[in-house]
Amino acid sequence: MDQPLIQFIVIPLVKIVVILAVLLLIVAYLTFAERKILAYMQVRLGPNRVGPKGWLQPIADAFKLLVKEDLVPAKAEKFVFMLAPGLIIIPALLVWSVIPFAPDTTLFGLLKQPIPPYLTDINIGLLFLLGVSGVGVYGVILGGWSSNNKFSLMGGLRSAAQMVSYEVPMGFAVVSVILMAGSLSLVRIVQAQQEAHLWFFVPGILALAIYFCCGVAETNRNPFDLPEAESELVAGFHTEYSGMKFALFFLAEYANMLVIGSVVALLFFGGWLRPFPSWGWLGFLDIIPPFFWFAGKVAVVIFIYMWFRGTFPRYRFDQLMHIGWKWLLPLSLANVVIVALGVLLLKG
């Protein structure tokens, strides 16, 4: 085989398959992790029947959803109803093409040349990520509208307002990191943190707080889980969905949580870098491969997500909007100005 074929077709294809398979497996086990963690927070045991200590539960769940009857309400807008789950899952998986979860590697010496384990590093990675994940809101709105159910419609409307308004402060929070790193490439941002001998959460603590708040709202998680507020809107925009279509909404939610966790790790906590990358005497920590540093940081963020769910009640819709527009947006703007000034003075 000639070189370009391998380089441009075979290797990316292998990477895509591996990333997707691992991602879906992780997402499936995230549901399990959430159920177990919540269970221990709530003095109960959680799933423990399927397989040893319940470890096969996600597999059983996936199988159950696959064989379930796929209902389409008689009065639903059928084409859009079918389209919506796709619209939400595709962006959730697509963003993984630009997330660098580890630096170039030789796979423990298997390869002669180190290659990047992630799919691609484009120079507008962060913009791509924000743009693509923004498409996900269409799935929610269209799913809510096409179900022809008033509860779904209200769920869809809520999430339209919520996701659109929280994307604004989220964008500004990200801008401050871009200013510090001087690049939109996610790999460059991590390298910039290595060169600066400083993780960006120290200067960007406010940006981190804003980003994480918005991230929770973007992924419709407690305490901002209004679009699917069970007690008010039954199940919100996916009330009418069942079987595998419901599973896609579910998978997308968890995949999006992983994305938010990864972005927090990459932008603010040095991605795959070990703590204090410039301190030589901590070199023994390098024995842990970079990917595990990254995974650990993401895991902490995800744990906080679940912790929220176990602790907080839910905000009301108008209160949520209030927080988004009257608190987070001005704060994020002020933060951009401060960070810009700092960058100008220090690097100037």
């Binding site: 919540l38 927070m41 709530q42 003095v43 109960r44 008033k150 509860f151 209200m154 407690n222 305490p223 889980d225 209004l226 507020a229 069970e230 007690s231 008010e232 809107l233 039954v234 769910r309 176990g310 602790t311 907080f312 009640p313 839910r314 905000y315 009301r316 819709f317 108008d318 209160q319």
Partner: protein, 373 residues
Amino acid sequence: MAGPLEPLFDVEEMELSFGPQHPATHGVLRVQLRLDGEKIMDAKPIIGYLHRGTEKLFERESFNQCIPHTDRLDYIAAPTNNEGFVLAAEKLLGITVPPRASYIRMILAELGRISSHVLWLATHAIDLGAITPFFYTFRERERILDLFEEYCGARLTLNAMRVGGLPYDLPDGWVERCSELIDSLPKYFDEYETLLTENRIWKKRTIGIGVISAEEAIDYGLTGPPLRGSGVRWDIRKVFPYDRYDEVEFEIPIGENGDTYDRYLVRMEEMRQSVRIIRQCLDRLPDGPVMAKVPKVLRAQEGIVYASVEAPKGELGYMFVTTAKSTQPYRCHIRPPSFINLQALPAMVEGHLVADLVAVIGTLDIVLGEIDR
């Protein structure tokens, strides 16, 4: 500018049928909503999905046979239902209950109150999105139900009282186990309060929601925590003491603003007061029989009686109309607190958002078994 603003586009109101099958209506309540966006213009509770004709059934059965039906009114707190019924029947028949039976009735009723209030807290919190209190409260509720089971064999529909006293005395060791439980309860109440009382989101969701003033509350005939939350110190246990409530010390907590948060605080404090009552009852539990001497067949005089108890949800009253020498009431009427408290729902939610509707339904603590009876 003068006059109201003209809307720039057509505004259409949406009708939404909230229930009867809905996770937050606490049973088969249906609320017909007229919505402007998410704002509630009008709410109309529609009931009757659980009607079983309990009052009519009472006309055909002897007094003691009626008691199992009362379990199924407010099925969350059966002891107070039994208590109200037997008190009315005893008033009608002129029976005096032995002191030991009275004290055990009070213990059971207060345990029932705690189990009802923790269930209220669980569902109210889960309606507002806090899922963890649900599991915490069920842990305690299980232990209370275990005590009920030990006493009378049933956990939910107790059928634990008879006209003239109680069917059984307490089993051996019950008093110790009960006292162990109530000693541990305040610690658990603190746990719930840690999660909710000072939680910013909880306060935002409950303060100023479903406000009802003291005058309005009285006009609507509200009783129980919805009335006391508005600052009216009215509790049947104090104003018309029954059983031996005049012999124990307890306080009636009241709120100030009549909003959902105040009603929450009132109920939390009521649980603590119930623990106090049970503690006193256990300490001074007298010896003696648990059943008065009553004839095998209960025959009533001609007359009308009304007796009420402070059920966890409010004033639960039973009224009998009887003819001479009848073995069953000619007519029975039940005054269920939930039914009357539910009347205030439209006034309490008007102008609020849909999300507040579930908060108000939760704070009224209705149970449909009693509304539809």
